[in-house]
């Protein structure tokens, strides 16, 4: 069960007039845990299924372990897959479910039982082997589905939103377990989800898809802290990054509705930009900060969320102090310019600053 690198090149697919994968080029490193993330309908499943051989791409190639498998039927690609709704055979017992592929592969009974036992042990399914899927809870079914996939000892493990049917607590537990499994088995794992928390916590590497295109690929922290586009910025984090419309004037950036700060970016003067700032990176109470009016406040116990307005723009701020703010109160917001991402307002692409003067804070008025 050695891991195999997967390379997807120029993969394209359309359903009718709808383009679901648009010339995708992605490398999945051998033995890595890659999460394919994206909003619902962006083509994640189609990508995964193209790798598995269940979907035929219109154009492009898939290589697994260096071999071109674009025309290989699914059973010969060396992939195992866990489906979103598990797709357990309802009329077979757990052990038959796990063993069906082994039987088809021509393994003898003894070898099959050994492998089923192994998978069951790894997943704690020992006591359930004689049950039918209908007699299992959601989490148990989930584990059986994974068992079915790993018992085959394939080089590649594919997961299509396997956690989305579980409740919050179970989801959290399964996350830890999945990660542990991956570390033990060492197969190349591709995991599809639309839940960014899952992606952030599970992945070695995230591929963020949007509308059939790769929006950004990288480590979770890269996506969190250096989003390449406003889409990435708005997709990752709970609550996600605040995006404020602003103008670039000289060396300053002037936020619509109030406030400005110096930032050296390569952009035309008076160009419209968007600035992105994470809710937890905002300071609420800086006397020199820009004015924002509290709209609502939520106390989650561990931290608080404030919904405020700068002019017409909504800003969310999280903080973990004990101070409470009430509706209508005026805050003074400021943040380090290092915490800021600038985006082109039209293309949504990130604009790298060519110099970041350290310790420059947002001020009421910009004094260059």
């Amino acid at each position: 069960m050695s891991a195999a690198a997967i390379r997807v090149q120029g993969l394209s697919k359309r359903f009718g007039s709808r383009v679901v994968m648009n010339d995708l080029d992605i490398d999945f490193a051998a033995g890595q845990f890659t999460v394919v993330l994206g909003p619902s309908g962006c083509g994640k499943s189609t990508l995964l299924r193209s790798i598995a051989g269940l979907e035929e791409a219109d154009r492009g190639t898939v290589h697994i372990g260096g071999a071109d498998v674009t025309r290989t039927p699914p059973q010969h690609r060396g992939c195992a897959m866990v489906f979103q709704n598990y797709a357990l055979y309802p009329h077979m017992s757990v052990s038959d479910n796990i063993g069906y592929a082994l039987k088809l592969a021509g393994l003898d009974r003894k070898e099959r039982e050994r492998r089923i036992g192994e998978a069951a042990e790894l997943l704690g399914l020992g006591a359930l082997l004689d049950r039918r899927p209908a007699q299992l809870s959601g989490g148990q079914r989930q584990r059986v589905a994974i068992g079915r996939a790993i018992a085959r000892r394939q080089r590649v493990l594919l997961f299509d939103e396997p956690l989305s049917n579980l409740d919050a607590k179970l989801r959290q537990e399964m996350r830890i377990e999945l990660r542990r499994l991956h570390d033990e088995i060492g197969a190349t794992t591709i995991f599809v989800t639309h839940d960014q928390t899952e992606a952030m916590t599970l992945a070695d590497h995230i591929v963020l898809l949007n509308n059939g295109l790769v929006e950004q690929a990288g480590t979770p922290m890269a996506l969190y802290h250096q989003p390449r586009t406003t889409f990435v910025a708005g997709f990752i984090g709970t609550p996600p990054m605040n995006l404020l419309t602003a103008r670039h004037e000289g060396h300053d950036i002037v936020v619509d509705g109030g406030g400005c700060f110096p930032a050296a970016i390569k952009a035309n003067s008076s160009a419209a930009v968007m600035i992105g700032i994470r809710p937890e990176a905002i300071d609420l109470d800086d006397p020199r900060g820009m004015a924002a009016v509290v709209e609502a406040a939520e106390d989650l116990g561990s931290h608080r969320v404030i919904y405020a307005r700068i002019g017409q723009q909504r800003v969310l701020v999280t903080y973990s102090g004990t101070r409470t703010y009430v509706r209508g109160e005026t805050l003074r917001l400021s943040f380090s310019s290092q915490a800021i991402c600038c985006f082109d307002a039209i293309s949504g692409e990130r604009i790298e600053p060519y110099s970041t003067r350290p310790a420059s804070f947002l001020a009421e008025g910009c004094q260059p």
């Binding site: 299924r49 897959m81 979103q84 069906y100």
Partner: protein, 296 residues
């Protein structure tokens, strides 16, 4: 729901009972009339209360060898049709649903057109075809090779003739197709990832999952075949090939001056409807499921 409408509840209950009376009335009347003497009916009219001669009448009717034969024929034909249709329907629906090949459209449309034109409408030519099954092939051979064979196969007055045309319909395929479409597509994908081909998938996964549908369609087809009247009427000329639903009419007097023995007619009617009622009672759950399956 907290709902207190005693008046509404009672009225509807009464109406339901009225509906029940109408639904079961004919069966009840048959039961009553089958349990009195023929004289009683002629003198007092149709009995509205059960009498004491039921067993006697049933025995008289059963002694008539015709009934036994007809019951047997109905059973044989129904079972053949059920078996054949289940086999054909499950496989052809599989071909229709689970393949990419264009053949599936051929099978689909080729089969489904029969939904549009029931047997009753083409009864006369179907009769002609059943009487000379080989004709199309003979004509083909004659047209291609110029050879005029004199082979012919006549299905009239045979179990094959009674059952085959009833099998040539799309209802079964339709029902199975509806069911297959509800089977999660992931199952076939999972099976394919597991290395199963179409036949293995059909046998290992689809058939076990279709058990309920076999029962449902089996019940519907059984009842439908049992009740069929027109085809047996046309396709049989020998009394020993008649089915019971058809044969029941032969208990009505055909010659003038033949005294009607309504009690025996009704006893025969009871016998004719006992087996399907029994099957219905036994498999009602499946039957209901089948009907609603068609309705989807």
């Amino acid at each position: 729901m907290v709902e207190r409408h005693p008046l509404l509840k009672t009225t509807t209950l009464i109406l339901l009972v009225v509906g029940l009376v109408f639904a079961l009335g004919p069966i009840y009347l048959a039961l009553c009339s089958a349990s009195v003497t023929s004289r009683q009916i002629l003198v007092h009219g149709l009995a509205l209360l059960p009498g004491s001669h039921l067993w006697e009448n049933l025995r008289i009717v059963m002694r008539d060898a015709r009934i036994g034969t007809m019951l047997f024929n109905s059973c044989v034909v129904s079972l053949i049709v059920v078996t054949g249709k289940l086999a054909l329907a499950s496989t052809s629906a599989f071909a229709v649903v689970y393949f990419r090949s264009r053949i599936r459209h051929v099978v689909f449309w080729g089969t489904f057109v029969t939904l549009l034109l029931p047997l009753e409408v083409r009864i006369v030519p179907t009769y002609a075809v059943a009487s000379d099954l080989f004709e199309p092939l003979r004509r083909l051979i004659a047209a291609v090779t110029g050879l005029h064979l004199s082979v012919s196969i006549n299905l009239l007055d045979s179990y094959a003739g009674l059952s085959l045309p009833l099998m040539a319909s799309a209802t079964g395929t339709f029902l199975f197709r509806q069911f297959y479409l509800t089977v999660p597509t992931e199952l076939s994908e999972a099976a394919r990832m597991d290395g199963a081909g179409p036949i293995r998938f059909f046998i290992d996964i689809l058939l076990p999952l279709s058990k309920a549908n076999f029962a449902a369609l089996g019940t519907i087809v059984f009842l439908g075949t049992w009740k069929d009247y027109m085809w047996p009427l046309v396709a049989t000329s020998r009394p020993d090939m008649r089915t019971i639903s058809l044969g029941i009419a032969t208990f009505l007097p055909t010659e003038t001056g033949q005294p009607p023995e309504w009690n025996l007619v009704m006893a025969a009617a009871l016998i004719a409807l006992a087996p399907p009622l029994f099957v219905m009672g036994l498999t009602q759950r499946w039957f209901v499921r089948g009907v609603t399956g068609i309705g989807k």
